[in-house]
Symmetry: C2
Subunit: 144 residues, 2 copies
DNA sequence: TTATATGCAAATCCTTTGCCGTCGA
DNA sequence: TCGACGGCAAAGGATTTGCATATAA
């Protein structure tokens, strides 16, 4: 039984090779936001002879087919997640690196309006929030 | 007469060398969002023997001193702008590459609130909008 | 069969670093 | 003076690519 991603690949007419199935499966089963190295590591367990070049090529192809979303959190490498019907943004916990997904309709609306006011039609956006857990670290400046 | 950035450098106790003055000046005079290569190119006109390594080192030092802001628009290289008292975000015109700055207090407030609702204190964020000029390209799907 | 995909290693792009001579305070 | 700085070239990390072989359809 093909996973969600493999199904999408077939739908979009991508040639399904053993390697692509493995990458598709790794991504279907991921609940986090793996980078290429992570995907390679996980895929290698299922298909030891897969190469990192194939992983990169496959990720790019999946992204171009709209199956994957590329995320960049500013640490120099790209992370991937499957495209979901409901759009969401990310909050990165800077103290642990944990990534939290959230949705906010008001925010989406506001972004469209801002673009419109500037004379543009919004075709995309990227928004990442960086935060530390409340009650951790020092919120005020003059405490110690 | 030192520019705004050189003044900040002095304020923060950075040792002022000829190269740093040149980089500071280039950035003080920039009205766009140059990447390291751009800064190097512009600095070279004022100081032909400056090296790209020095430009990178200086940009990093200025950034760490809070004098510069590092921007990443997803094209693989960092861009820089001087830190301004009033925060702003960017809208990138995907048809021309032009970058438009904007401020929106409601947006900032909403971001803080979202973080708070998730149990976080917002320590930073990054938001870029991507758009095409209104009236250009096809907004509807079934026209031609 | 035949265009497309994969492996491997080399290449690229952006950025950082080691080393050693130089310069600012 | 003397520790910080700059130049050069080499190193690094992430990602892409050329080429010969293998494979899906």
């Amino acid at each position: 039984m093909p996973g969600q991603i493999e199904r999408l690949c077939i739908e979009r007419g991508l040639r399904m090779t053993g390697q692509r199935r493995v990458v598709a499966r790794v991504l279907s089963e991921a609940n986090d936001h793996p980078d290429a190295e992570d995907v390679y590591r996980r895929a290698s367990k299922l298909e030891p002879k897969i190469s990192i070049a194939t992983v990169y090529r496959t990720l790019r192809i999946f992204e171009e087919a709209g199956i994957l979303q590329r995320l960049e959190f500013g640490d120099g490498r790209a992370r991937f997640e499957r495209t979901e019907s409901e759009h969401h943004d990310h909050l990165i916990d800077t103290s642990s690196g944990k990534v939290i997904e959230f949705q906010n309709a008001q925010l989406e609306e506001l972004q469209e309006q801002i673009a419109r006011d500037l004379g543009y039609r919004l075709v995309g956006h990227r928004m990442d929030l960086y935060g530390v857990p409340l009650g951790q670290a020092a919120p005020a400046k003059d405490e110690e």
